[in-house]
Symmetry: C2
Subunit: 314 residues, 2 copies
């Protein structure tokens, strides 16, 4: 069985981990959003790819919710000696752990040699010994830009630097028009037994991935095999600004809002059991709807959710 | 009193530290070689500037002889997980400590914004609270290239990666012809009471500095105020490949060889007392010669050497 999962960051990583655990004999492909990739301090950062890699390797820090376990912060501390002195705090608002820097140094060196991101990612996945094909959605540069009253912001600037304390009035994906799906991406969608849309932010994680030409139509063509998982539970995102972004951009902040975004792409929406009352509204939009526990930090939920997602498509 | 010191890395840093200690009321300017500067893993590294900064700040690791005290190596360790797996050891032969990475992140960010190296360096010197003007010799890119039978090598590639196990048949400084001295550099040479040529490698540290148009003639015009310190003691360099480079490039591996290289630029050569028998040979080349203890790791030598150097010019 082949399972292809469309991924953003943390929520997708946990979904993937559950799928790999419950279906270890399947061929797994993860297609990961790269529209939050950026160059910081000269280093090429791919936040969603790294989150997926670290989580699947069991190397992530579950308590912090991001980054590596056992991490140290010497580089950032010493960078801030300079930015504190010069007042250039805008050059140190991010957080790159010392171990994490090893990942960025490798990626930056290889990209600088002309290696495509997909090739570098494959090398890193091999180093971590992960049993899946992990593909950036594209090897070409794409970038999510949020329009706010503090100007255009990249997602990390919006979320970390501005602490998402600004209203978002629009989203675009720069570079999408001229980007090509990375090698293997379309094939992974076309030949999968199940295409899973992970419970990532529909606006800034899954949306940009779908904006790469060819992706959206490839997913829509497989609609009956596509199962999306709602990241909105009881009207809220478990973490991150997905709920606020949905409402600021005119969508209903609920599993129904998610269903309306994915109606053309997913034959089934899996929602949390707390949203059982919304099943009929979801089905009214043309999707099948399955309610099941979806909060993966709860014992046993990862396993049951992974099984429910796959069973919904088969 | 104004003291301007021409500097490479470690040897120069110790000389500077001694001069600052013995002459705290003087105005000190350090002009530092940038021909070993390079981009590694996306980061802009200035090894000689960093060595001077760290040493003067008392933050250097005296035991290791380079880098910061209290350093950790998480980034390199985790980078090597990738390079060990992919076999790309050529991407991890260097060593960048975690604390050191803070310096490189700051520099890289500022250079990427278009700030000249001299401006960034001034910000870093201010953050360290150092009481001198520290100038890169130029804000323009220059690079020392060593011709060897393993092809053209940058100095770090020759010294660290190849472990200087190849013969050097030639040296050139790329970019020198079109480089300008950084702001303040020529003035610092022209108005100094004493110009000190630190005991750095004459071939790959001081030579490239002098190769920037205008520098060599500015120093030569001040010859009577210029005091060079021999890095070759008893026919050997205390550390590094200066002795081998001298002989491979056709110079005598001794204080006399150093004198012949600096004859047009320095009115006085300070040599180690062990080389007292060479005084007449140095003087025969037209330089005054002063023999005194020069091994600064020995107690009291830093102080006496600094005083001897300044007194030789006044």
């Amino acid at each position: 069985m082949r399972i292809t999962t469309l991924c953003g960051g943390v929520g997708a990583a946990r979904m993937l981990r559950a799928l790999l655990t419950e279906f270890p004999d399947a061929e797994h492909v993860a297609i990961v959003n790269t529209a939050d990739d950026d160059v910081i301090g000269g280093l090429s950062i791919s936040p969603d790819i790294d989150t997926v890699m670290y989580t699947l390797a069991g190397a992530n820090d579950d308590e912090r919710g991001w980054g590596l376990a056992g991490e140290s912060w010497q580089a950032m501390e010493w960078l801030r000696r300079y930015t504190n002195s010069s007042g250039r705090h805008d050059l140190s608002w991010f957080n790159l752990g010392d171990r994490d820097l090893g990942t960025h140094l490798y990626r930056t060196s290889r990209l600088a040699e002309g290696a495509p991101l997909s090739e570098v990612t494959a090398e890193m996945v091999a180093a971590w010994g992960l049993p899946l094909l992990l593909l950036p959605v594209t090897d070409d540069p794409i970038a999510t830009v949020l329009r706010t009253d503090r100007g255009d912001l990249a997602f990390q600037e919006y979320f970390v630097r501005e602490q998402h304390a600004v209203e978002v009035t629009g989203v675009r994906v720069e570079g999408a028009d001229s980007a090509d799906p990375a090698p293997g991406v379309l094939n992974a969608i076309e030949t999968a037994d199940v295409v899973v849309v992970a419970p990532s932010n529909p606006i800034v994680s899954i949306g940009p991935l779908l904006a790469v030409p060819g992706i959206r139509s490839a997913v829509a063509a497989r609609r009956s095999a596509v199962v999306a998982v709602s990241p909105i539970i009881g009207g809220k995102a478990l973490k991150g600004p997905a709920d606020r972004l949905l409402s600021e951009l005119g969508h209903e902040t609920s599993a129904v809002g998610v269903a309306s975004i994915y109606a053309d792409l997913a034959g089934t929406l899996v929602i949390d059991e707390i949203d059982t009352p919304l099943i009929h509204q979801v089905e009214a939009l043309g999707l099948r709807c399955v309610a099941t526990p979806t909060i993966m930090s709860q014992p046993g939920v990862s396993a049951s959710l992974a099984r429910a997602v796959i069973e919904a498509a088969l």
